[in-house]
């Protein structure tokens, strides 16, 4: 069974333009292609139940 894990998506004006795991590389490449101010990053969750209780 394929185990799905996280992925990052680079958005340009809310439209996906890159997807993958190496965020740094994707971000640098996106900045060369698109206006910096139009870009955003999204973390894509793998399917599952998200329980986020964080204690220090």
């Amino acid at each position: 069974m394929e185990v799905k894990t996280y992925e990052y998506v680079i958005l340009m004006n809310d439209k996906p333009v890159a997807r993958g795991k190496n965020l740094k590389k994707m971000w640098e490449e996106a900045k060369k292609k698109y206006p910096r101010k139009s870009l955003a990053i999204k973390y894509e969750y793998p399917p599952g139940v998200l329980i986020a209780i964080i204690r220090l």
């Binding site: 894990t5 740094k24 964080i54 204690r55």
Partner: protein, 135 residues
């Protein structure tokens, strides 16, 4: 007042579900500019805000310079190493500085937690449909 629609995502147990995800910006020391981060979980169960290492690497020259700490969740025995940094966040033009745990892992979702984060605002989770944030 910023308002964010819950976003549909998939749960293996519950099928399609809606989650309270909001858009933020984080100031990057490297780029001397704000980086937009979409769909950050607004989580009142989280004491501290957290971002994955990959995002931290776009913001700070050296993530490991923060105070090293071990954090826990609900899962028994599960531990996560994080580096605590003071970062500048912005929501809808409103800036604030808060302690953020940068995970020593790429596989951690970005979370806006309570301390100096959600606690600064009146946050209204509207019937599983919208998150309204009042400054």
């Amino acid at each position: 007042m910023p308002s964010f629609d819950y976003k549909e995502q998939e749960s293996l147990i519950l099928g399609k579900i809606l989650r309270p995800l909001i858009d933020i910006e984080i100031f990057s020391e490297i780029e001397k500019d704000w980086i937009k981060i979409k769909e950050v979980l607004a989580d009142t169960g989280a004491d501290i805000s957290i971002i994955p290492k990959s995002t931290g690497e776009l913001i700070l020259h050296d993530v490991t310079k923060g105070k090293i700490q071990e954090i826990k969740g609900i899962v028994p025995f599960a531990r996560l190493i994080v580096y605590i940094h003071e970062l500048k966040f912005r929501i809808n033009g409103r800036e604030f500085e808060l302690p953020v745990a940068i995970a020593d892992s790429f596989d951690v979702p970005p979370i806006l937690g309570r301390v100096k984060g959600l606690d600064l605002f009146d946050v209204n989770f509207k019937k599983g449909q919208k998150v309204n944030i009042e400054f």
